[in-house]
């Protein structure tokens, strides 16, 4: 055998080895798993690797919604690096910087205001997102603006349709470099950690995500690296407390003084010592009374959260002269049924009578019982509470003193 023949044989063996190596490398790749969600009709391969991810919520079934419509990413890529390169909001597509692309769309949560489905517009203009309440108050206090009307927020935002008397048409971005007051500078450094776009301060008790997930993905601290795939409307009060009741602002040092105790007992430990509470205010969860409009906004830009807080004791209990407002669920399209579907703590159906707020928001976790009393099921706990109207009781309240703080005078619990 000549030299060149021997070399050819050796080279052929090398080529064969290279081919075998390729074959071996290829055989180690996972078998692609295709999913074609009905919403998009476009194949995606995320479940090739994400095999044991729990469904994010019963209202977002993966075979209908899929992954990419919310998370973005490269749905066809089988290489983790490329697949994740265009993820929206990193692991959290509900971050407000990308929420319109992730959760929005007329088919999803940017539906028309008439249907009450414009959640994104409402959240983007809400005080929790703009932080306009605190910014306005601080800028007014330190002379940067003459009035207590919101001019600046965390991000610029415009409201094309102002529908309330307190609504503001637009906010500019809060820019502390334009203000000479050192207090405003310090405020901007120390006190901007509790709006929906802010990363929370360190510590398990502050642990929350940003955007929609700040509220709708509770208990992130219980999951390693905050890796949790869940959205829910059953939001326990502990989730609200990742921002609220976490300490006090010190206006002299313009800093947030974190509470040092570990609150265990809700009645005695959680809330400000000076506040007064009735029993339902510390046994129910925040979301049992505070409605969608109150927590996610009414679509207008407001200067203070108090401008949209409207649920009062009388919303559920009525007054001496009037029963609380109620509504009979007339059809399957009733919003109350849709909300009850999202968080089925209560078996609600057409024909049931529920309580409604002064703005006709359904309190879908309540029901009027045949004997004229009411029941409420805790949205996060499933606990059933029975309660009565004020009408027909010994209450001595004056007819023109119906705000909740008048009720507190007699009904506040001892702390």
């Amino acid at each position: 055998m000549s030299d060149s023949r021997r070399a050819t044989a050796a080279a052929s063996a090398l080529l064969l080895a290279a081919l075998l190596l390729i074959w071996w490398g290829d055989s180690r790749r996972p078998q692609p798993d295709a999913l074609t969600p009905r919403l998009t009709g476009q194949q995606e391969y995320c479940t090739t690797c994400h095999t044991d991810l729990p469904e994010i919520s019963p209202s977002h079934p993966v075979e209908i919604v899929g992954c990419a419509v919310c998370h973005g990413g490269e749905r066809l890529a089988l290489d983790a690096d490329l697949a994740h390169r265009t993820l929206r909001g990193g692991g959290n597509p509900s971050d407000l910087s990308v929420v319109e692309q992730s959760c929005g769309g007329s088919e999803c949560h940017s539906g028309g205001s008439a249907e009450g489905r414009d959640h994104i517009q409402r959240v983007m203009t809400s005080v929790q997102a703009t932080y306009a309440g605190a910014i306005t108050h601080i800028r007014y206090t330190f002379g940067a603006q003459p009035d207590q009307i919101a001019h600046q927020g965390i991000f610029p935002v415009v409201d094309a349709e102002v529908s309330t008397t307190t609504g503001v048409p637009a906010l500019e971005a809060f820019d502390p470099s334009q203000d000479s007051s050192p207090s405003i500078q310090t405020f901007s450094q120390n006190c901007l950690s509790c709006h929906l776009s802010a990363q929370p301060p360190a510590g398990d008790s502050f642990a929350r995500l940003t955007g929609c997930a700040a509220c709708h993905t509770p208990n992130v601290d219980r999951f390693p690296e905050g890796k949790i795939h869940q959205l829910t409307t059953a939001i326990p009060y502990t989730q609200c407390n990742t921002c609220h009741n976490r300490g006090n602002y010190d206006l002299r040092s313009m800093s947030f003084v974190e509470r040092t105790d570990v609150p265990m007992d809700r009645l005695h430990d959680y809330y400000q010592p000076i506040a007064q509470f009735t029993q339902c205010e510390w046994t129910l969860d925040c979301v049992d009374c505070h409605t969608r409009i109150e927590s996610m906004g009414d679509g207008d830009i407001h200067s203070n959260q108090s401008e949209i807080e409207y649920v009062q004791c009388q919303t559920c209990h009525g007054t001496l002269t009037a029963l609380p407002r109620t509504r009979i669920i007339a059809s399957e399209d009733d919003l109350a049924l849709k909300l009850a579907f999202l968080n089925p703590v209560m078996d609600l159906s057409v024909g049931d009578t529920i309580l409604v707020t002064a703005q006709d928001e359904p309190l879908w976790n309540t029901r009027v019982l045949p004997d004229g009393t009411y029941e409420l099921v805790g949205k996060a706990t499933g606990q059933v509470f029975a309660f009565r109207p004020v009408m027909g009781t010994q209450c001595t309240q004056k007819p023109d003193e119906q705000a909740s703080h008048y009720c507190h005078e007699c009904h506040a619990v001892q702390r």
């Binding site: 060149s4 070399a7 050819t8 290279a18 390729i22 490398g25 490269e74 290489d79 390169r85």
Partner: protein, 344 residues
């Protein structure tokens, strides 16, 4: 043994001295083989590639991840193209450093240089066809260089890009150039180039009286050596394709969107580095054209290598050409290294 078709493509015998690996480096033959690999793998890719802005990068993802053996074919195409750049450079260097460009081979030297330019253009257009975020520099900065050419720049840009800025027309034009215009040109020029090698008397050797070694090898041996080169090249290609996938990135969603990672393809990094010095027309257009012109003029203005010195490395008679090429090579290499270092 009766010579078959492939044997007949070769002369019956060639000088043994000049058919050694250490003389030819096997570069020209390997380049032809790589061109064949590129034609075949490119044709296979055409079955799946969609040259529209919204589908291009997605179809590349489909080829890479979902078409059976598609990833392998795409990686082979990519690596064959990169190797072709290297191999043609080596071939050019070999021809200059052995003084094999002298008459009657001057014209074939120009044909080869033309092929080298075509290889660069093919590589550049193929790179653009990915239409993903990784090609930003080439698509925006690279093409904008055309606009800096006085008088004809804007028109040239309009013709090549299909508008005043990159868009759907750009992709289809680059596609047409890549798979048709440039490829056809490359195949035809390669045929001509190879034909001219034989017409010009085969590989450059001293005239019979000045030869020190009269030994010759047969076409059978030559073909065996070529097959050996092909097998080795294939093994290298397959290993590279298997373990170093071709670059891929997320689709371009907005051409205007700037990316932080705007890096040029590796073979034009030296131009990108020069662009940092200012005037884009001077550094981005004139200097590269000047380099090409100097290369093209080597056989015409520099002293001719002596006949007796042909067929071996570094003949003394073409010392000047050697220094010119080494100078250009060192500059390009230094600029490339600088660009790589500043890119990180």
């Amino acid at each position: 043994m009766r010579p078959n078709f492939f044997h007949h493509l070769h002369p019956p015998t060639i000088p043994a001295q000049q058919s050694r690996w250490r003389y030819t480096l096997g570069a020209g033959g390997t380049a032809v083989f790589l061109l064949l690999v590129l034609v075949v793998t490119g044709a296979l890719e055409m079955f799946y590639y969609t040259p529209t802005p919204d589908q291009a990068a997605l179809s590349v993802q489909v080829i890479s991840y979902h078409v059976p053996l598609g990833g392998l074919v795409r990686n082979l195409h990519f690596w064959a193209a990169q190797l072709l750049m290297v191999v043609t450079m080596v071939h050019l260097a070999r021809v200059v450093l052995t003084g094999a460009y002298g008459p009657p081979r001057r014209f074939n030297y120009l044909l080869g240089l033309g092929l080298f330019v075509l290889a660069i253009l093919l590589n550049f257009t193929g790179y653009i066809l990915r239409w993903d975020q990784g090609i930003h520099w080439a698509l925006v900065v690279g093409t904008n260089l055309l606009k800096t050419i006085p008088l004809i720049g804007d028109t040239l840009y309009e013709i090549l890009i299909g508008g005043s800025q990159p868009g759907p027309a750009t992709l289809i034009r680059f596609y047409a150039w890549h798979i048709f215009g440039l490829s056809l040109g490359a195949v035809i020029l390669t045929g001509w180039h190879v034909f001219r090698v034989r017409r010009d008397g085969g590989i450059a050797v001293p005239p019979p009286l000045l030869r020190r070694d009269e030994a010759r090898i047969t076409r059978y041996e030559l073909v065996r050596r070529e097959v050996l080169a092909m097998i080795l090249t294939s093994a290298a290609l397959i290993t590279l394709a298997g373990f170093a996938p071709a670059p891929i990135d997320a689709p371009i969603r907005e051409i205007a969107a700037t990316t932080s990672d705007a890096s040029a393809p590796w073979f034009v990094l030296w131009v990108q580095q020069m662009l940092k010095w200012g005037d884009p027309f001077l550094w981005g257009v004139l200097v590269p054209l000047l380099v090409l012109l100097v290369l093209a003029l080597i056989p015409y203005i520099l002293p001719q290598p002596h006949e007796g010195e042909l067929g071996r490395w570094f003949p003394r008679s073409n010392r000047l050409a050697r220094w010119v090429l080494t100078g250009i090579g060192a500059l390009v290499l230094a600029l490339t290294v600088l660009a790589l270092l500043s890119g990180d």
